[in-house]
Amino acid sequence: MIWMTWRQFRTQAVLGIAALLLLACYLLILGEQIRHTYNTDLALCAKGSCSGVMNEFTGQYDLQTEILGYVLIVVPAVIGMFWGVPLIARELEAGTHRLAWNQTVTRGRWLTAKLGLVGLAAVAFTGLYSLLLTWAASPLDAVRDDRFTPLVFDDRNIVPLAYGAFAFVLGMALGLFIGRTVPAMAAVLVVFVVVQGVMPTMVRPHYLTPVSQTVALTKAEVSGLSFFGEYGTVGGVHVAGGPWIVSTSAVLDRSGQEVGHTSWWSDCVNVAAPAQLPDCISKQNVHVEVTLQPAGRYWTFQWYETGIFALFTAVLAGLCFWRIRGRLS
């Protein structure tokens, strides 16, 4: 059955290996470049004005690493669609399952071989990609100090492996239950996007109870913010140590009242020159309340997320076995 699985998977596997090789070459080169720049910048750092140098350093490689990160988030969906779905759906569509299931191999073993071999390939692909990207971007991540934010968390270390396994089995299961390749591919895309949207925004923040913290809007803090709302709200609050900011309150004054649409706030936001903004806001002695997941919980969250997706994967695989042994015609 291993021969047969390989024979049917050969073309996709070769394409996958070629893509992975290209990515690996690029990531190795990029990683070396990042390290080179980092070491030169560290030398400059020693001579003073470190933050400026380091800002330049992250800015230089932001685009590449972000794009590579997005690609790694998309890769599981692609694997699910092009490796997972055809595995069974194509057999059902062509009617060849009636040939395959009458060889001297039980359907359970047939599925085990496909699931095992191609599933392993899916995990290996995402795993190697993640390993290389994590390595390449590690100096950058250390400087940026925000590896907990969803778009970085999702494409570093071990979670991509679980996403890969999940998306692959999702594709296989939808292919089996829907029975037609193209609709199943579309369904994989929809389900994967929904899951990847819901997990980081609605589920992941609650793995552990977030910690509350008051953050004063000092000059330094305000200059790092990314958003100022008309009604006294801000975005992009940064807390030293790299925790994940889960929620940010409205801007509060000393008595804890919301600042809201007061005249000084709109003056600061609308009238003052951008360079004056930090001064303008910080002299009002205002603060925000944030809830955050401390940076020390990073690996706990990586394992939780991996465990949850592994569980999804196991449930979907179980459904496939149940279905294929049961009432399928």
């Binding site: 059955m1 024979r7 062509a94 009636r98 009458n102």
Partner: protein, 288 residues
């Protein structure tokens, strides 16, 4: 001897539609069984149940003494060629034989090679580019080379032109003789299987209408003709299968347990298989 196929109260439904109802069968081994019935009668359902592709919703079925498709040993004993003879379009003829060798412990590589050469298939040719007849031959080869005790063919002749059909059936018969296997062949047309089968099952409207050895069936069915009045009431032991009344007289196909000529105020004649099958199919149609 273990029956090749035994069914008791076997039924299969898809949602509310009954594909097969209350099917009772016991087929002795060593036969070539023709399964005949109109399209949608449940032939494919019965055959797919027999090779374990689907599960019954009621009743039981055993094939060669075991529930179909339960384990590898059972799968090894049954060779199945599905309707429209599916093969892997992207795989070559040689790949199909390799697949057979990898997936069947009892694979007879020599037999497979010999057969491919005999029908003149190019081993390097992709299966997707074969003609309908060649595809059927390839599917047959894969099913046969695992050396099963029972070969099942779902409408093997449907996609073939008359010449290819003839060649295919001749080939098939050689194999069955070679392997000493039993075989079940389904068709919507009796003419496809008549030449080769010695056991017949007529399936219509999801039910088994009649089943038995061909010689026995022919012995036990008679056509009676006479006036309508004379044929209205028949003595016990006669079961009317189908009656045809015209102004010139009536003709009734009856089933009887008596081997002797039934005597009465009518003329009787032996009937051929075609008329017999037609009588049962017409009856099933009328009862719907």
């Amino acid at each position: 001897m273990t029956p090749v196929l035994e069914a008791e109260g076997l039924g299969k439904r898809y949602g509310r539609r009954r594909a097969l109802t209350d099917c009772d069968l016991s087929i002795p081994p060593g036969r070539v069984i023709g399964l005949v019935g109109p399209n949608g009668a449940g032939k494919s359902t019965l055959l797919q149940l027999a090779c374990g592709l689907i599960k019954p919703t009621s009743g039981t079925i055993t094939v060669l003494g075991q529930r179909p498709g339960t384990d590898a040993a059972q799968l090894a004993k049954v060779g199945f060629v599905a309707q429209d003879t599916p093969v892997y379009a992207a795989l070559s003829v040689a790949d199909h034989l390799r697949m057979g060798a990898h997936l069947n412990p009892g694979w007879d590589g020599q037999l497979a090679q010999r057969r491919i050469a005999q029908i003149g298939l190019d081993p390097k040719q992709r299966a997707g580019r074969l003609s309908g007849g060649q595809r059927a031959q390839l599917a047959l080869t894969v099913a046969v080379a695992k050396r099963p005790d029972l070969l099942i063919f779902d409408e093997p002749a449907a996609a073939l032109d008359p010449l290819a059909r003839r060649g295919f059936l001749e080939n098939l018969m050689e194999f069955i003789a070679d392997l000493g296997a039993s075989a079940i062949l389904s068709s919507h047309a009796l003419s496809d299987v008549q030449r080769v089968c010695d056991y017949l099952i007529v399936l219509a409207d999801s039910r088994v209408q009649v089943a038995g050895e061909v010689t026995q069936l022919l012995e036990r069915h008679r056509r009676l003709s006479g006036s309508r009045n004379e044929l209205e009431v028949l003595p016990p032991g006669f079961e009317v299968v189908h009656a045809d009344h015209t102004v010139n007289g009536s003709s009734v196909v009856v089933r009887t347990n008596r081997a002797a000529a039934p005597s009465g105020p009518w003329q009787w004649a032996e009937i051929d298989l075609e008329a017999l099958v037609l009588a049962y199919m017409t009856r099933a149609e009328a009862q719907r």
